[in-house]
């Protein structure tokens, strides 16, 4: 038998045959290691868990087209490839347009979006009724619903007025004989005034129609019905000059000017520039307590069908990552060459980082305190063990054990305890962390293989450090005590 085997035999016998004493030391190391393993697991898992939780505060990143660029769904898909799948909680694209509800002479900002993603990026949205699922279903903000008196199950007709003045080139090129023209301009208090006109065989105005429903009915609103006023326009050639070709309707100067302006910028009417009206069913009322209550929401597909455009104004992203990673993603998006900028919602990212930092500091502190307590407990137990084994230690010294042998034996026992306690703690700690995770965060955690060696090594170090004082005491024992017949 080698010396090493004898050494192992002695320390294992000491631990295994003196169970009751060593059990206390083992238990304290085991509990310490359990807390350690559990806390380390939580420490590393908490950011992941909490980030997922904190994503309920809403989007923390916005994707916007750069100046002069546009964003569409294909481009968005390419940009989203910059984000790892597990980090991207949700990406809700938004297209905002102003739609008219002619029957109420109201217009609302309407957002086309992807409701499945909205659920992920804005989990705080609360809907009375349900989210739209089929086509031609809309979600109406509470504020609008109260204003126009719609509720779940109502229907509303919304009209999209293409911005007809937004054509390219000189409008005069469209003013050919027999042309169908349409134009719009800003009237009183910013409301759009739309004019459609038909030219005759000589390129003169044959007929005009004015839609001034956005104007004050008693003043500008009268322009669309006032026959003498409208009559002035027939037979005139574009462009028109106010005060020369036509006179303003009394009390409606601004609207009249807008009509002339609209005609002077009018373009040939094509299918794409025709106003479109669609009847939608209200399936839910959105309650958020925020500005979203002043919007109407419809699916992106409906929005595309209505406007005939695949265009996105902004995409709200909910990304599960720390601040540093978020900044890296912002950089990646900027470098993707898609003409898209990512912006962090600082209010959200900052508070997330602060909360996580504090939580991790707390977990760290608790772990350190528990480890200190473990050390004190193990040290006390080992001290008691040394006192209890004074005669045995004296005997060993009398039999020729050097101080180093005594040190090695106690350290060996300590390390062995640390090993057992560490393995025990790693296993129990994982269970502990799992229980905490499931109960507090409602999700399970994955076992980190590195946890086992780390816990075992830390436990062994703690056990070894705890043994220093007891070992000092053991070494100081006088071998002569065994001779005194105590």
């Amino acid at each position: 038998m080698t010396k090493r085997r004898m050494f192992l035999r002695m320390i294992t016998a000491s631990l295994l045959r003196r169970r009751s004493r060593m059990l206390i030391a083992l238990l304290s190391i085991g509990i310490g290691a359990t807390i350690l393993a559990g806390m380390v697991t939580i420490y590393y898992d908490v950011p992941r868990q909490m980030r997922a939780q904190m994503r309920s505060y809403g989007a923390n990143m916005l994707l916007l087209p750069e100046d002069g660029e546009t964003l569409d769904s294909e481009k968005l898909a390419r940009v989203l490839e910059q984000f790892p799948e597990d980090a991207l909680v949700g990406a809700a694209p938004y297209r905002y347009v102003r739609l008219d509800m002619t029957s109420r002479q109201q217009s609302f900002t309407t957002a086309g979006t992807d409701f499945e993603q909205v659920l992920k990026t804005s989990p705080y949205f609360s809907v009375e009724g349900r989210y739209p699922e089929a086509t031609r279903e809309v979600l109406v903000g509470k504020e609008i619903a109260e204003l126009i008196g719609v509720r779940e199950g109502s229907s509303m007709e919304l009209t999209w007025q293409p911005a007809v003045t937004a054509g390219e080139g000189d409008p005069a090129a469209d003013w050919v004989p027999n042309a169908q023209l349409a134009g719009s301009a800003e009237g009183f208090s910013g409301g759009a005034v739309t004019v459609t006109a038909t030219l005759d065989g000589e390129g003169k105005i044959a007929e005009i129609q004015v839609d001034a429903s956005t104007q004050t009915p008693e003043y500008g609103g009268r322009t669309q019905e006032d026959k003498p006023f409208l009559k002035q326009f027939t037979g005139k050639t574009l462009p028109l000059t106010m005060g020369e070709d036509v006179d303003a309707l009394t009390g409606a100067t601004v609207t009249s000017t807008a009509i002339v302006d609209a005609l002077n910028h009018s373009r040939a009417v094509t299918a794409a520039s025709q106003p479109r009206t669609v009847r939608y069913e209200v399936v839910g009322i959105l309650v958020t307590g925020g500005e979203e209550e002043g919007y109407v929401f419809m699916s992106n597909a409906d929005m595309r069908a209505l406007t005939g455009e695949d265009k996105l104004d902004v995409t709200e992203l909910s990304v599960s990552a720390d601040e540093e990673q978020l900044n890296a993603y912002v950089e990646a998006v900027a470098n993707s060459g898609e003409g898209v900028t990512a912006r962090l919602v600082k209010r959200v990212t900052k508070s997330e980082t602060a909360v996580l930092g504090k939580l991790q500091a707390l977990v760290f502190l608790v772990t350190v305190v528990v480890l200190l307590l473990t050390m004190i407990c193990v040290s006390t137990t080992m001290m008691a063990v040394v006192s209890e084994r004074r005669r045995e230690i004296g005997l060993r010294k009398a039999l020729g054990a050097s101080d180093n042998s005594i040190r090695a034996e106690f350290l060996g026992e300590g390390l062995f305890l640390g090993l057992l306690g560490g393995v025990m703690g790693a296993a129990l700690g994982f269970v502990f962390a799992q229980v905490v995770s499931v109960n507090v965060f409602g999700s399970s955690i994955t076992f980190q293989p590195l946890l086992l060696p780390v816990t075992v090594i830390v436990s062994m170090v703690i056990a070894a450090v705890s043994c220093l004082m007891p070992i000092k005491r053991a070494v100081s024992i006088d071998p002569a005590l065994v001779l005194k017949g105590e």
Partner: protein, 224 residues
């Protein structure tokens, strides 16, 4: 030839002279008993002979080495190499079996050898009790294990402190017989005892009183 020689040693604790100018000469192979009442300096003398203490004054030559001049660390080495100890209270490691207790001594001395340890237990008639823990052995059996442990490393000197103090007569005789055997084999024995019968088994008895050698008795009835 002297194995152990104490030359005018004194051990002084403050005012108290535990040993006062004591000299002693023990030849190789000799069997000496040390007697004396409590407080006569027996324990102090044993500690010094057993390399666990140093005299305040005087020289202690063990196998030609002056152990009173050696540093404490060396004393451990000398004790391990030259001395086998037997105690009144037996002192076994209570969580190790009989054979393991013997092997502990081997472990500190050189190499544990289970076969040899079992042989030594055989010598004290306990081979079949080798796997028992101390709590499963009687007092006499424990002391025999301790004798086996003391002789396992073939020490020059066996130093026994009241080896039969806690034994009944039957076991006392077994232990004394073991000592006789060791003596015949040439081992030097120093036995500290209260018991005149045990002292009478030795060749010579030193009687200590008040830290001095009061008298020396040679056992004329010594049977070898």
């Amino acid at each position: 030839m002297a194995l152990l020689e104490l030359k005018n040693i004194s051990k002084i604790y403050g005012e108290l002279k535990a040993l006062d100018n004591v000299s002693l000469h023990v030849d190789k192979g000799e069997w000496v008993a040390i007697m004396g009442p409590s407080g006569s300096g027996k324990s102090t003398m044993m500690n010094i002979i057993g390399c666990m203490d140093k005299p305040t004054k005087g020289e202690v030559l063990l196998d030609g080495v002056d152990i009173s001049k050696e540093p404490s660390k060396r004393l451990t080495d000398i004790r391990r190499d030259k001395i086998g100890l037997v105690f009144q209270q037996f002192h076994m490691v209570n969580y190790l079996t009989a054979v393991e207790n013997v092997m502990v001594s081997q472990h500190y001395h050189s190499m544990p050898d289970e076969e040899e340890a079992l042989e030594a237990l055989g010598r004290v008639g306990l081979r079949e009790r080798a796997r028992h823990l101390p709590s499963q052995l009687s007092g006499g059996e424990q002391q025999r294990v301790c004798v086996a442990r003391a002789l396992i490393n073939h020490p020059e000197l066996i130093l026994a402190d009241e080896p039969t103090g806690n034994l009944d007569e039957a076991n006392e005789n077994i232990v004394l017989d073991l000592f006789r055997q060791l003596h015949r084999e040439g081992t030097t024995l120093i036995v500290v005892t209260h018991d005149p019968e045990v002292a009478e088994a030795a060749q010579r008895t030193i009687v200590l009183e008040h830290g001095r050698v009061a008298r020396e008795v040679v056992n004329e009835n010594f049977v070898d």
